[in-house]
C-alpha cells in the first residue's frame, strides 16, 4: 500500500460521495455520500501520515471519527424529524425554502 494508492482511494471516495449528494434524492443516501466525503478526508490524512512517516495524521483521524459519529447522530435525528413532519425522506418533498 503506497501512499499514492491511498490518495487515489481518497479521490474515488470523494467522487462517489459528491455524486451521492448531488444525484440522490433520498436523504439517507445523501447522508451516506456525506459520510463518504468525510472518510475520503480520513484516508487522505492516513496517506499523508504514511508519506511523512509520522503518526500525526492517523491521530487526527480519530478525532474526525469521533466528530463524524456525533454528526451522524445529529443528522439522523434531523432525518427522523423531517420524516415525522413530511412523511417522506425524498428531498423534493421538502422545498419550503423556495418562495
Amino acid at each position: 500500500m503506497t501512499p499514492f494508492s491511498l490518495f487515489l482511494l481518497s479521490g474515488l471516495l470523494l467522487a462517489i460521495g459528491l455524486f451521492g449528494i448531488v444525484a440522490r434524492r433520498n436523504v439517507i443516501s445523501l447522508f451516506f455520500g456525506l459520510e463518504l466525503i468525510l472518510n475520503s478526508a480520513n484516508v487522505l490524512l492516513v496517506g499523508f501520515s504514511k508519506l511523512h512517516g509520522n503518526y500525526y495524521g492517523e491521530l487526527f483521524v480519530f478525532f474526525v471519527l469521533a466528530v463524524a459519529a456525533a454528526e451522524a447522530a445529529v443528522g439522523l435525528a434531523i432525518v427522523v424529524a423531517i420524516y415525522r413532519m413530511k412523511r417522506s425522506i425524498n428531498t423534493e418533498d421538502f422545498r419550503t425554502l423556495r418562495w
Binding site: L18, I21, V22, R24, T91, E92, R95, T96, R98
Partner: protein, 620 residues
C-alpha cells in the same frame, strides 16, 4: 453716495420697512405704513426737484457698487444723470408721492395696507433705478423689477380670480417683450464688447447699419411689451384689475412710459438704424386703434386704459419720426393729466362703492364737486383744448409728423385726437352729468372723497393746466441730452394744422355732448345701424386680439405643447420607469428558476463553484 443714490434708494428703504411691518405683522404700524412711504418718497421728490432745477447744462455720474464681474462684463450699479434722467426722476417721484398720499385714503382699512405700501416703494425704487441706469444691465434690472412690482400690484387682490389672471397675463406678455430685449442686449455686448451707455453710444458709428437695425428692433420688442403697444398691448386693459392708485402710477404715468424713455435714451442706435418707421407705424396704429376701442368700453378704468394706450401710441409715433423731445414732452404732460384722470376715477369708484360701469353712474357732479372739476380739467388737457397741457404736447407731435413728411401718421393721429375728444366727452357726460342711473344703496354712500384723496387731484390739476407752457424751456433743456429731428414748418401751415386739430377736438366734444348730454341722438340707434353694427362689434370686442391670442397661443401652442408633453410623459418617461420594472421582473422570473428549493441543487452549485475556483487557481 451722491444725490441720485438717495433719490433711488430711499423708496427701497420704505419698501424694506413696510415689508418688515407686513411680514412680521407689527400691528402698531400696519395701518400706519404710509409714514415710511410718504416720508421716503417725499425726500426723494425734494432731491429730484433740486436736481432738476440745478442740473442746468451739466451731467454727472455716480458709481454705487459693483454688481458682478464676469469675464469682460463688469456690471456696476450707479447713475448717469443728464437732463433726461433729471426729468424722469422728477416725474416718477412726483407722481409716486401724490399716489402715496392718495392711497392713504383709497386703501384705508384694506387688510393689505402695509403690503400695498411695500410694493409701492419697491416699484418706485425699480423705476428710479431704471431711469438712473448708466448701462444697459442696470436698465434691464430696473426693467424687470418694474415688471415684477407691476405683477405684484395688479394681482394685489389676488383672491379675486380676475386680478390674479390679469397679473399673470401682464407678466407673460411682458416676458415676450423682455425676451427680445435681452436678445438685443446680447447683440449689443457682442458687437461693442460693453454694455455701458457712453461706450456703446460713442462707438455706434463702427457698427453696421444692419446690426444697429437689428438691435433697435429687438429693443423695440421690449419697449412694445412694456409700453403696451400693438401687438403686445392686451395686458394693459386687464391690468386695471389692480387698485386704482396703481393704475395711475404704474399703468398710466410711469412704468408704461419706460419704453418711450428707453428708446429716447438709445437714440444713437435708432438714428443709426432703419427701425424708426416701424416705431412710428406701431405708435400710429396703437394711437388710432386704442382710441376707437376706448369709445366702446363701459368700464370707467378701461376707457382710461385704452386712452393710455392711445397716448403712448402718440409718443411712439413721435419717436418714430425722430421727434424724441416731443415724445418725452408728451410723456411729461401725459403723466400729470393721466394720473389725475385715474386718481379721479378712483375717487368716483370709491364713492360708488366699487362700481365701475359708467352705465350705472351719471349725475355725480353735484355730489363730488372737487373730483368732477379736476376730472374735467384732466380730460380737457387730454383732449388737447388750449391752453391746457395736452394741447401743447400733442399738437407738437401731430405737426412734427406732418412736417417730417409722414402724412399718413399725421392723418391717423389727427383722427385719433378727434376720437379722444369723443370718448372723453362720453365719459364725462355719462359719469358726471345727466340722469342718475345708480341704485339707492350706492346713493346713501355717495359723498366727496376725503381730503387725502382730493388734495392730490388738486395738486395734479395744476401741472395739467400749466405744464404746456413749459414747452419751450423743456425743449431747450432736453436738447442737451437728446436730439429732436423736426423740420421747421412755415407759421401759416402750423396754424392750419393747429386749427384742424383743435376744431376736431371741439367737434368731438360737441358730438359727445349732443349724444350723451342733450340726448339728441340715441347712441343705441347708431350702434344698431346695420352698416355700423359689425364694425361696432369688432371694436367692442377690442378687435378680437384676446380671442386670437387665446386661439393661437393658449389653445394652439400652449395646448399643443401640453399634449406633446403629456405624450412624452406617458410614453417615454413612463416607458423608462415601467421598462425598468419589467426588466427586473423578467430577470427575476428567469433567475428564480435556479432556486429549486431542493438541497441537491444547492450542493451541485457548491461543487460547481468550488470546481470553477479550483480551475481558475490552477490556470492562472
Amino acid at each position: 453716495m451722491g444725490v441720485a443714490f438717495w433719490i433711488t434708494f430711499l423708496p427701497l428703504i420704505s419698501f424694506l420697512l413696510c415689508g418688515a411691518v407686513s411680514f412680521f405683522r407689527i400691528n402698531s404700524f400696519r395701518q400706519r405704513s404710509h409714514y415710511f412711504g410718504v416720508t421716503a418718497v417725499g425726500i426723494s421728490l425734494i432731491l429730484s426737484t433740486v436736481t432738476l432745477l440745478k442740473i442746468g447744462n451739466r451731467t454727472f455720474s455716480e458709481t454705487w457698487f459693483d454688481w458682478f464681474t464676469s469675464g469682460g462684463l463688469s456690471a456696476q450699479f450707479g447713475a448717469y444723470v443728464d437732463q433726461l434722467t433729471a426729468v424722469m426722476f422728477f416725474v416718477v417721484t412726483f407722481i409716486s408721492f401724490l399716489v402715496h398720499i392718495y392711497s392713504i385714503g383709497y386703501m384705508h382699512g384694506d387688510p393689505g395696507y402695509d403690503r400695498f405700501f411695500a410694493y409701492l416703494g419697491l416699484f418706485t425704487f425699480s423705476m428710479l433705478a431704471l431711469v438712473a441706469a448708466p448701462n444697459f444691465l442696470q436698465l434691464f434690472f430696473g426693467w424687470e423689477a418694474v415688471g415684477l412690482s407691476s405683477y405684484l400690484l395688479i394681482g394685489f387682490w389676488f383672491r379675486r380670480k380676475r386680478a390674479a389672471d390679469a397679473a399673470i397675463k401682464a407678466f407673460l406678455l411682458n416676458r415676450v417683450g423682455d425676451f427680445l430685449f435681452i436678445l438685443g442686449l446680447i447683440i449689443i455686448f457682442w458687437t461693442f464688447g460693453t454694455l455701458d451707455f457712453h461706450e456703446v453710444f460713442s462707438s455706434v458709428n463702427s457698427a453696421s447699419k444692419a446690426t444697429l437695425s437689428l438691435i433697435g428692433l429687438l429693443l423695440l420688442g421690449g419697449a412694445v411689451g412694456k409700453s403696451a403697444q400693438v401687438p403686445l398691448h392686451t395686458w394693459l386693459a386687464d391690468a386695471m384689475e389692480g387698485p386704482t392708485p396703481i393704475s395711475a402710477l404704474i399703468h398710466a404715468a410711469t412704468m408704461v412710459a419706460a419704453g418711450v424713455f428707453m428708446i429716447a435714451r438709445c437714440f444713437p442706435i435708432y438714428d443709426g438704424g432703419n427701425v424708426l418707421p416701424i416705431v412710428g407705424i406701431i405708435g400710429t396704429v396703437t394711437a388710432f386703434g386704442a382710441a376707437t376701442v376706448g369709445l366702446t368700453q363701459f368700464d370707467i378704468k378701461r376707457v382710461l386704459a385704452y386712452s393710455t394706450l392711445s397716448q403712448l401710441g402718440y409718443m411712439f409715433a413721435a419717436l418714430g419720426v425722430g421727434a424724441y423731445i416731443y415724445a418725452m414732452f408728451h410723456l411729461f404732460t401725459h403723466a400729470f393729466f393721466k394720473a389725475l384722470l385715474f386718481l379721479g376715477s378712483g375717487s368716483v369708484i370709491h364713492a360708488m362703492e366699487g362700481e365701475q360701469d359708467i352705465r350705472k353712474m351719471g349725475g355725480l357732479g353735484k355730489y363730488m364737486p372737487i373730483t368732477t372739476a379736476t376730472f374735467i380739467i384732466g380730460s380737457l388737457a387730454l383732449i388737447g383744448i388750449p391752453p391746457l397741457a395736452g394741447f401743447f404736447s400733442k399738437d407738437r407731435i401731430i405737426s412734427a409728423t406732418f412736417s417730417n413728411g409722414h402724412t399718413g401718421f399725421w392723418f391717423f393721429l389727427t383722427a385719433g385726437a378727434f376720437l379722444t375728444a369723443l370718448y372723453m366727452g362720453r365719459l364725462i357726460f355719462l359719469v358726471f352729468f345727466g340722469k342718475e342711473r345708480f341704485e339707492t344703496r350706492e346713493m346713501k354712500h355717495l359723498h366727496e372723497s376725503p381730503t387725502v384723496m382730493t388734495l392730490p387731484l388738486i395738486v395734479l390739476s395744476i401741472p395739467s393746466v400749466v405744464a404746456g407752457f413749459l414747452g419751450e424751456w423743456f425743449e431747450e433743456f432736453l436738447k442737451q441730452a437728446i436730439p429732436n429731428h423736426v423740420e421747421e414748418l412755415p407759421h401759416s401751415t402750423e396754424l392750419i394744422l393747429v386749427t384742424i386739430t383743435v376744431s376736431l377736438a371741439l367737434l368731438g366734444l360737441l358730438i359727445s355732448a349732443m349724444v350723451y348730454f342733450a340726448r339728441k341722438i340715441d347712441p343705441e340707434s347708431i350702434t344698431e345701424n346695420p352698416v355700423i353694427k359689425p364694425i361696432y362689434t369688432l371694436i367692442y370686442n377690442k378687435y378680437y386680439f384676446d380671442e386670437l391670442y387665446n386661439l393661437l397661443f393658449v389653445r394652439g401652442v400652449g395646448f399643443g405643447l401640453g399634449r406633446l408633453a403629456s405624450l412624452l410623459d406617458r410614453y417615454v418617461i413612463d416607458g423608462i420607469v415601467n421598462g425598468t420594472a419589467q426588466l427586473t421582473k423578467w430577470s427575476g422570473e428567469i433567475l428564480r428558476m435556479t432556486q429549486t428549493g431542493v438541497v441537491n441543487t444547492y450542493v451541485a452549485y457548491m461543487v460547481a463553484g468550488t470546481a470553477i475556483i479550483l480551475i481558475i487557481l490552477l490556470l492562472f
